[in-house]
Structures are given as structure tokens and as C-alpha cells.
Symmetry: C2
Subunit: 235 residues, 2 copies
């Protein structure tokens, strides 16, 4: 995914930590690049590292009936991937796929658990992040049930814009269909509708957000709800 990368992007969870805790944590992190399409975890397989995305972002996908898929979460520089380790389970809950190339800080599972033990501030923050994750899972469940594809697409584009830190990113209709759990043609139809309203433009996988406010109006309330919960809990 080609995103117009803004430099100096850091991770919001790390930024919110007290200086000492952050330094201690950073000392144990390794800066890496997330590659588009890279699979970080497979469901039910071991979690070897946690990731604090700074520039890149990751889709959490769940599957059923060995062919039906659905994105249930999106992790960018507002979050962390692998937080379920702190629940004492080293098995990944979801298939985790790099959706936006970019930088991240990576830590081994064992040093994460060790540092977590040492930093109550990190503990509390990540507990809050877990709570947010739970609520977002429920929000996704009800959104997927009730909202039209067009509104869900608008929501997804907004969430992705936030995490890509750019109003342009690369994603094809086929991929969006996979993420939202609908037919590719369903995406084409919805995307075309947003195009006609001049909210977005796209060409062979390169999407540009033209009118963010308009997109927010076209999206379901779930975008706003998610954001509100995040801000309220992590404030």
C-alpha cells in the first residue's frame, strides 16, 4: 500500500506513557517495516511479537465456514497488535494482515511481558485498549448486521484514512470485498455511488478521499461511536 507517508509519526499508546516507561520500552523495541500483504499472525497460532504501528496498519480478520471472512478490527498508530498476550494467552485470536505498509516498533513476546510487569502505566493503558477493542468488536458486529454496504464502506475509508495518515491509499475492490465480507460487485456499486457524490475518487486501486465531511455523513454512526469510545477511555 502506497501511502503518502508523513514523517515523525509515532505511536499514540507509546506517546502517552511517562517518559521513563517509554524509554525503557523503546530500548527493547526493534524498528521494522511492515510490508503490504504480510501476515503477522494466523488465528490459533503462537504470537511471537507485539507490534506498535507507527506508520503502517493492520487488519484483523476472522473466518468461518472456511471461505467467509470479515474484518473485525483495524490497528494503526492508535493501537497495538498482540495485546492479547497480556491476557495470558499466547495464541492469536485473529488473522492479522498488513494492510498499509509502513513503520512499526516490534518487541518479542517475552520482553513485552517482562516490561509490562515493570510498568504499571503501560498495564493500565493496555487494559483500557483492551476494553476499547471489546467495544469495537461489538460495534462491528452490529454494524455489519444493520448497515448498508455503502455506509460501511464509508466508515472503513474514514478509519483507514486515519491510520494511513493520508488521504490517498491503495486498495482494490476485491480486497474491500474481502474485508467487508461482501461481493466484489457490491463494493463496485457502493464505491461508484460515493464517486458520483464526489466524496472519493479511485483508479485501479488508488483511492483518494476528496470530501471527508461528506464521507462522514455517508458513513454510519459507527465511525463516530468508535472514536468517541476511544477518546473517552484513553483520555
Amino acid at each position: 500500500m502506497t501511502t503518502t507517508q508523513v514523517n515523525q509519526i509515532t505511536n499514540r499508546l507509546l506517546d502517552a506513557l511517562p517518559f521513563k516507561d517509554r524509554e525503557q520500552l523503546l530500548a527493547n523495541c526493534e524498528a521494522i517495516e511492515l510490508i503490504f500483504g504480510e501476515v503477522l499472525y494466523r488465528a490459533n497460532e503462537p504470537v511471537l511479537h507485539v507490534y506498535f504501528p507507527t506508520g503502517g496498519f493492520i487488519s484483523l480478520v476472522t473466518s468461518v465456514d472456511s471461505s467467509a471472512n470479515l474484518e473485525v478490527g483495524l490497528v494503526g498508530n492508535e493501537g497495538i497488535l498482540g495485546v492479547s498476550l497480556m491476557l495470558g494467552v499466547n495464541v492469536a485470536p485473529f488473522y492479522s494482515l498488513v494492510q498499509g505498509a509502513g513503520s512499526a516498533l516490534r518487541m518479542t513476546a517475552s520482553s513485552f511481558l517482562y516490561e509490562l510487569e515493570r510498568s504499571p502505566a503501560l498495564q493500565l493503558e493496555l487494559k483500557h485498549y483492551l476494553y476499547i477493542t471489546m467495544r469495537q468488536l461489538a460495534q462491528t458486529a452490529i454494524c455489519t448486521r444493520y448497515h448498508l454496504v455503502e455506509a460501511r464502506l464509508a466508515r472503513w475509508l474514514l478509519m483507514t484514512q486515519d491510520r494511513a495518515h493520508s488521504d490517498r491509499f491503495h486498495v482494490t475492490h476485491v480486497f474491500l470485498a474481502y474485508i467487508l465480507g461482501v461481493r466484489r460487485v457490491g463494493i463496485t456499486k457502493a464505491a461508484n455511488s460515493l464517486l458520483k457524490k464526489k466524496l472519493i475518487s479511485y483508479k485501479r486501486g488508488d483511492i483518494t478521499i476528496l470530501d471527508r465531511a461528506g464521507l462522514e455523513a455517508a458513513s454510519c454512526e459507527c465511525y463516530r461511536v468508535d472514536k468517541e469510545i476511544y477518546e473517552r477511555i484513553l483520555a
Copy 2:
């Protein structure tokens, strides 16, 4: 909800604790009766108590657009209600409604947090329970998206039978419609189909499971998946 109550039902999470931890915890619990239809939490409002159901059980419901609802969890004697307190948030994530009358053990939020501090065994167990909850939320999301009402109904009946500890319980089509997020008529149709297959019988809200194995076959794989995760993580 009238369930043929089996005596001596205890809570599986409590049972799994070491003797000392359990005794300590029980000393701070109050035995109460959950009343059918009682609202234990409202979303975004304070959590004053945690509940370990023994006989009764509780639906977790999320809402959107101020009229669309969906059950995202079911808590019986295999679980605990209010576990999100351990994430450092005292605001309820979901509307929590007593769905099956029966006994429970209740603890104030503050003594729960105090006892949690003192019992690493309880901490670990509830962290595992949180992990399970996350996975079940995702399972519900994808199930609601892809599975037919009849299969979802079968799944719900099985989950409820497990938690009611009885093959008979009270629930109307109207209520099921609310829980599964479909029209009442959709439930009538699905229930009628299960009736014709002689898997269940019902009359004015009294449902009886006639053929559990048959119901399992009629349900989607989500019932089995949920159960497997629970057993694997809490074993």
C-alpha cells in the same frame, strides 16, 4: 423465565479456583436471585457489582441507531458479568439483561477489585475469560453476517440450554427476534422449521429441546467453535 432448576449448580469459574482463593472470594459474595427481565447494567453507565451466575443467566445486548439491537454475549454459570472492571473501566460496555431467572453470587465492584489484587489465580482465570469473550464477540459478528436465521436460532437455543441447565425454558418469538436482531416473523418461520424437524417444541413461550444432537446439526458451526475455544483456554 421458568427453568427446571437443578440444585447445587455452582459457578465454573469459582469452582476452578484453589480452595483458599475461592473461600476468600465467597466470603465477600452475597447470594442473590436474578429476576427475569431485570436490567443489571445499561451501556455506558457505572458497574456497581460483578455477578457470578450459578443458576441464572444474562444477555449482553448492544444497540445502534436507537432501535436496532443485537445480542453479543450470553453469561451463565460458565462465566462472570462485570469482568471489564478488571480493565480499569467502571463503565458497562453492554446492556445486560437477565434472561434466565436463577441464583447468582454478587460482589461489589470495590471488593471485587480488592480480592482480585489478592488472588493471582483469579486474575489469570479472568484474563483467560476476557480472551474468550473477545473471540466470542468476533464469532458472533461473523455468524450474524453469514448464517441463516434458522441456524443462528439453533445455536442460540443450544447456548441457552447449556446455561439454563434444562431442556425447557421460557422465551417468546418477540424476544428471540430482539436477541437475534431479526423480525418476529423471521423467528416464527425458523422456529416452525425446527418444530417440523422435531428438534424442538414450543407453546406460548415455553420451549422444549427435543433433539439436542439434531439441533447441533441444524446450528452453524459457531456453537461448536465457541465451546472449543472456551475449553481450550480455560482448561
